[in-house]
Amino acid sequence: MQAASQLPRERLTWMYTQMLRIREFEERVKRTFVEHPGVIRGHAHLGDGAEASIVGALATRGESDPVMPSYRCHGYPLVLGTPARALMAEIYQRRDGVCKGFGGSMHLADPAHHFPTASGIIGQGIAHAAGVAYAAQVKKTGQVVYSFFGDGSSKQGAFHETLNLAAVWKLPVVFILENNMYQAYTHYKLEDANAIAGDPLSQKAKAYSIPGVTVDGTDVLKVYEEVGQAVDRARSGQGPSLIESRFYRLSPHGNAITVPPVPTQFQEHEAIEVYGNKAEFEAAKKNDPILKFRAQLTGNGTLSEAEAKKIEEGVRAEMDEVVKFALASPLPTPEDAIKYVYA
């Protein structure tokens, strides 16, 4: 692993670009509910606020390392190289979607870009990630698997069973617990024993005698350093680690759950909507990981103001085109619904 301080300008620029791409993509998903009601069905979950955590972690990847996110899964494939238009087309229920309109926002998959699947059931994908790691171990591929999940998942049996078994089998997997402060609508301090005791959630690693660290998930380079060490450890056969990456989900859990024909949109964040805690939300917005990284890069001369603006304009143009493409993509052929039940 290259130290964060040694990362070349191109890599840092790439990281900033990917963070922006996630943000701009998610902004457009959110806007679609307003601008094109009905184009997105069901439930969509956004990763704004997670950009530094996602990109810092994935910047440590070897080129064939698999990534298994939770149902909040738009950001990872954007970084892995899945065309953004195929992701948006999927969320827009289109034939050109990455899953041809069979999966939707919660169930993206792109194995060709090392993203096997995401489970929409909280925590279950953690076990699948360990299985991908088991295959890598048996086949001696040298891959390390990145398992991403939320703080809510860390209360699931799948999390505890899998951490134990992954430790017993010394599986090449890194467990990245994204503590975005809310399990769905519930503040984590209402439901997590470690949090209530004043301990970090990475404390859970102690139960399985594996390394557990907590990192500021709004600092892309700190995430890069911590995940990088865990990846090195996993790749050298020393088994799994748990990393709690703390950041703040800037959008609410998902679009409002409504029954047709009542339209659905993203409401205010639950910090405000449920808990009336506007101060917490405003503080989180001030600590925006993208603004922080931008200030860092322009402050230390990695990027000039003009260069940063150029990147931002480029990303916005890409995502505007993505929306146009997805809107124009045809709907799937109804009779195709019976495909893919069995291999």
Partner: protein, 326 residues
């Protein structure tokens, strides 16, 4: 020359030979392969044969992930009820991922479990849970009743590119029956006529096949010719063979160890009502467990479960009955 083989041995032979044939087949579970003397460990090593903690969700979830990555895992679950603590993996993960991905992944794995104990294991270890799985698109379910089928269906289960629940009935474990020589394979979705007959069709699976064959033998002595059909897989389900038999006999008795509304029989009855109604000379009759949990005491247990006598009585009843239409 076919040779007699114990039911459990036939399964072990199939797994062993498939593991020899394909290095991607792995086998793990609780309370297995505990020492280096274990025959699977000796043959295939610790990468491919492993012990797990009592963690069904992790065991099944890992199988799913490994299957998507090119392995063909067989998970030894011991008892089908243990799958219930990880039912999300069975029902809502393994069979969904391929579909939701638009066909991009496949999940070839085998969830192997004994089921249906009727030797005093009482309410929580004597169940037939296949009804909850047989309607799940993407999942296949094998339920062998003979050593030959146990072997042939296990081979197919391992080679299949989809998740397969392989259920072997505990009461058949030490039964010996002939197994053909060579690489014996039984395809999925092909029912087997275990005994040919002309007066009535009996459909049964697993241990109930044995009871139905005994009942057919008793009935034969009274001049009643019963045909006994074993679907062998509940998903896919070979309805055509059953319809063809009913076309011939005009009468159908469905035998199932599960309670009535949780049985495979009720699904078959529905299919026959739609596809075979015109051939029926009498209403379909179902011989199932009573609507209770399975009790501990043998006196109670035998009252609840289907028996040879109950099957004989049901056959006689449908032979006496006529449909209103006839």
């Amino acid at each position: 020359m076919p040779r007699d083989m114990m039911f459990a041995e036939a399964i072990a032979v199939a797994i062993t030979e498939e593991m020899q044939r394909d290095p991607n087949v792995v086998f793990y579970g609780q309370n297995m392969a505990m020492t280096e003397r274990d025959p699977f460990v000796r043959k295939f090593g610790r990468d491919r044969v492993r012990i797990t903690p009592i963690s069904e969700t992790a065991e099944l979830g890992i199988a799913i992930g490994a299957a998507m990555s090119g392995l063909r895992p067989i998970v030894e679950l011991y008892m089908a009820e243990f799958m219930l603590v990880a039912f999300d993996e069975v029902i809502n993960e393994a069979p969904r991922l391929r579909y939701m991905s638009g066909g991009q992944v496949k999940v070839p794995c085998v969830f192997k479990a004994g089921f249906g104990f009727a030797a005093g294991w009482a309410g929580q270890h004597s169940n037939c849970t296949y009804h909850a799985m047989m309607g799940i698109p993407g999942l296949k379910i094998a339920v062998p009743s003979t050593s030959a089928d146990a072997m042939g269906l296990m081979r197919t289960a391992i080679r299949d590119d989809n998740p397969v629940v392989y259920l072997h009935h505990y009461m058949l474990t030490i039964d010996k029956s002939p197994v053909p020589d060579g690489e014996h394979i039984v395809p999925f979705g092909v029912a087997d006529i275990k005994r040919a007959g002309t007066d009535v069709t009996i459909v049964a699976t697993a241990w109930m096949v044995k009871k139905s064959l005994a009942a057919a033998e008793t009935l034969a002595k009274e001049g009643i010719s019963a045909e006994v059909i074993d679907p062998r897989t509940l998903a896919p389900l070979d309805i055509k063979t059953i319809v063809d038999s009913v076309k011939k006999t005009g009468r159908l008795v469905l035998v199932d160890q599960a309670p009535r509304h949780a049985s495979a029989s009720i699904v078959i009855a529905g299919e026959i009502a739609e596809q075979g109604f015109k051939y029926l000379k009498a209403p379909v009759k179902m011989v199932t467990a009573l609507d209770t949990s399975v009790p501990y005491s043998e006196a109670l247990e035998s009252y609840v479960l289907p028996s040879e006598q109950k099957i004989v009585d049901a056959v006689k009843a449908v032979l006496m009955m006529q449909t209103a239409a006839v």
